[in-house]
């Protein structure tokens, strides 16, 4: 037994010899030639498609680097796969801070995943920038978590928009709600109730599903039994797909509202069209699949960047809205880095991120101004409604301004 241990010693020594030591630097992740950003996103598992946000951002950073970078510094973007599992997101984030020594964490994806790392990032005073989750807490609780800022429109406000739309346009609505039973789905539901105001009783049924469950068909069946004529799908990834399939299979014909994060054109195009047609959602980015933007400069730029700098891109990716969302936030990130100036510090970049007034981001709808102040940390607060018809989303109505909080 003892000799075995001795051999293990030798093994241990070899492991030690091959590992390189890390050395501390003044501002981690910043040198004269480089800015290192990190992110944790799902690249595998059922939410893998949403990881395209990071791939889109990566392509944009490479494009910026080719044009000289930010004050001569090239952006290195390290994004790690967490399979949409918060435990792995924690591990990835610790690895990004400690081993990769990133300057900031940018656009990590998922509500639970970002909640799980928020405390440790704030304790370490590492910026948690432009979180890819619309949970209201990321923009609202800045007093407790000053190193965190959101990006996409807050889910609660999105729910409220649907509520107000129903009140105004669908007088005899009886609403059924399918929602993901975590902070993400519950945020949307709470917003819907607020938007409905006095009409909150028109919600006749609501059923949550567990984000680790296999199928939501049982929940949809249950909702149909309530005889509702409006269905809210506050779901994610495969679950919204399953919800549309179930609605179609059951021969149910409600007016469907589907939340932004699960309304990607790529997804809508493969669900049964007799259920999908007429569905309503919100939009803030230019959807590259929409014929409306076929000749748009921003979308053209998006496609040329993705073709040239994207990693393993196919023709379908050029019409994938997750990539545009990623580029939109990368555009804001680069703007923020420029604003933070030549002497880049973590405090400086937080200061820049909370004093943004960005007009003309080519990847979001015309007219949208990305605006933040230290006490208003919701960069994207303007959206339009859109309706699915003829295999594409078609925006309607004017820009709506959200008033978070």
């Amino acid at each position: 037994m003892g000799t075995r241990i001795l051999l293990l010693c030798a093994l241990g020594a070899t492991v030690a010899a091959t590992s390189a030591g890390a050395r501390p630097v003044a501002t981690p992740g910043v040198s004269a030639t480089e800015i290192h950003l990190g992110s944790s996103v799902p690249l595998s598992g059922e939410a893998a498609i949403a990881g395209n946000v990071a791939r889109g951002a990566d392509a944009y950073f490479k494009y910026v680097n080719d044009k000289g970078g930010v004050f001569g510094r090239k952006i290195t973007f390290t994004y790690l796969d967490d399979g949409y599992d918060p435990g792995r997101a924690v591990n990835n984030t610790i690895r990004l801070i400690q081993q990769e020594q990133v300057f900031a964490v940018f656009s990590s994806l998922g509500t639970n995943n970002n909640l799980a790392v928020r405390k440790l990032l704030n304790d370490a005073k590492v910026p948690q920038l432009f979180v890819s989750s619309g949970a209201t807490t990321f923009g609202r609780d800045f007093r407790k978590y000053p190193w965190t800022i959101g990006y996409i429109p807050p889910y609660a406000e999105e729910g409220a928009i649907y509520g107000r739309y129903v009140v105004k346009n669908l007088k005899r609505a009886k609403i059924a709600v399918l929602y993901q039973d975590d902070d993400y789905g519950r945020d949307l539901l709470a917003g819907l109730r607020r938007g409905l105001g006095a009409k909150v009783k028109s919600i006749v049924a609501k059923v949550g599903y567990d984000p680790t469950s296999a199928d939501v068909q049982p929940q949809v069946t249950q909702l149909k039994a309530s005889k509702a004529n409006v269905l809210m799908i506050f779901a994610f990834g495969k679950f919204s797909l399953q919800a549309f399939n179930a609605v179609s299979r059951l021969g149910w014909k409600p007016q469907i509202f589907v939340n932004d994060v699960s309304s990607a054109s790529a997804l809508m195009a493969i669900v049964p069209q007799k259920a999908a047609n007429g569905s309503i959602s919100i939009v803030f980015g230019k959807d590259p699949a929409s014929p409306q933007w076929a000749t748009d400069k921003g979308v053209k730029l998006f496609q040329s960047i993705l073709k040239k700098y994207g990693d393993g891109i196919n023709s379908r990716d050029l019409k994938d809205g997750y990539f545009t969302t990623g580029m939109a936030s990368a555009y804001t990130m680069v703007d923020t880095l420029r604003k933070a100036g030549k002497n880049l510090s973590r405090q400086g970049v937080m200061n820049a991120a909370t004093h943004l007034t960005e007009r003309g981001n080519p990847f979001v709808l015309p007219g949208i101004v990305i605006h933040t102040t230290p006490s208003s940390r919701f960069p994207l607060t303007q959206v339009r409604l859109q309706r699915w018809s003829g295999n594409a989303w078609r925006p309607f109505g004017k820009l709506i301004s959200l008033k978070p909080l």
Partner: protein, 340 residues
């Protein structure tokens, strides 16, 4: 025999020395990775007592780790009657809570053996993650529980990772010593007798009920300690932190380390950690082989590499690293012993 004992003790001292010195040679983050290897090692020690020595198969040890992890999370976040408990003190408590759960599982295990026992324990692993979802106010649901990141106590001047490393490996060495004392004494002989033949063991006066339950309790205690340390290191628990597959990985680590070889389990622990987290590096190495080209960034590559490495390891060393070492060293050590 006395020489053998002193060689084993010498080995233990050498291992302690390596553990103490290793962080000087590796980066800070690497220390964290080695700490997690240490946690797997602790869980494997427990599993080895149960499976390697008493011959009872458990496919549910991830659940005992989860019990330990959740105990720590609840005690540090919710506190005990409103008083948050220091993370350090929750470690033994987590071990005891998991150990009690293990004893309870050990009772039905008396009536079942082999495949049936494996299925029961697998059932525990499958059903456990539902509990936090059911009692989400208390256990945090899928959102999980967020702990404070561990800090070195009493103004110790080390990094968090070094602290977690020394904490884990300190506990691991103590538990290794305990396991070693246990298996080389009366209890170990009784467990091995039960493993080899229950009938023979019973007819020699060994209480099956007592020893089989005890083995479950001890091994769950070890898993609970490991889970508690894991929760502290990760500063986060939710059901996905202790997935069903974790139980399977532990069995894999046990088989790779060698069923009844305590120090060999370090290799098993290292393998399951590195294949889970660095399969892309292994894929890059494999590309040096002729006629192979793997894309390390391809989704799913880690599972493929994990499976392939496992098959190769089991083909080459079916008795695990422990068995391999024994075979290599046998001529040497027998000569050593006969001389005494």
């Amino acid at each position: 025999m006395r020489l053998r004992l002193s060689v084993e003790l010498l080995g233990f001292v050498a291992l302690t020395a390596i553990v103490a010195e290793l962080p000087r040679f590796v980066g800070d983050y690497r220390a964290r990775e080695l700490a997690i290897v240490g946690m797997y090692f602790i869980a494997l020690l427990g599993l080895s007592i149960l499976t390697g020595y008493s011959g009872q198969i458990s496919l549910g040890h991830g659940a005992f780790m989860a019990i330990g992890g959740y105990t720590t999370a609840i005690l540090t976040v919710n506190g005990f009657y409103g008083h948050p408990v220091r993370d350090l003190w929750t470690i033994p408590i987590a071990g005891v809570v998991a150990g009690i759960a293990g004893l309870l599982v050990g009772v039905p295990a008396l009536r079942l053996s082999g495949l049936y026992l494996a299925l029961i324990t697998f059932g525990i692993a499958v059903s456990f993650p539902q509990l936090p979802k059911k009692f989400d106010h208390f256990l945090g649901g899928t959102t999980g529980k967020i702990l404070n990141l561990a800090k070195p106590p009493y103004g110790l001047d080390t990094t968090t990772n070094d602290w977690i490393y020394y904490l884990t490996w300190g506990i691991a060495l103590v538990l290794l010593l305990c396991a070693w004392l246990l298996v080389r004494g009366k209890t170990g002989r009784a467990l091995k007798a039960i493993r080899d033949s229950e009938v023979a063991a019973a007819s020699s006066g060994i209480s099956l009920a007592r020893y089989k339950t005890l083995a479950f309790g001890i091994s769950a205690f070890y898993a609970g300690i490991a889970g508690s340390l894991y929760a502290i290191a990760n500063a986060y628990v939710n059901p996905d932190v202790f997935p069903i597959i974790l139980s399977v990985y532990l069995v894999v680590g046990l088989a790779v380390g060698g069923l009844d070889s305590l120090p060999g389990l370090i290799a098993g622990a290292a393998l399951i950690y590195f294949l889970q987290n660095h399969a892309d590096t292994v894929a890059k190495w494999l590309n040096h082989l002729p006629a192979l080209s793997l894309d390390p960034k391809q989704p799913g590559i880690s599972s493929v590499v994990f499976g392939a490495v496992l098959i190769v390891v089991m083909l080459l060393v079916p008795t695990g690293v422990g068995g391999l070492l024994r075979r290599v060293l046998h001529p040497l050590t027998t000569r050593l012993y006969t001389r005494s």
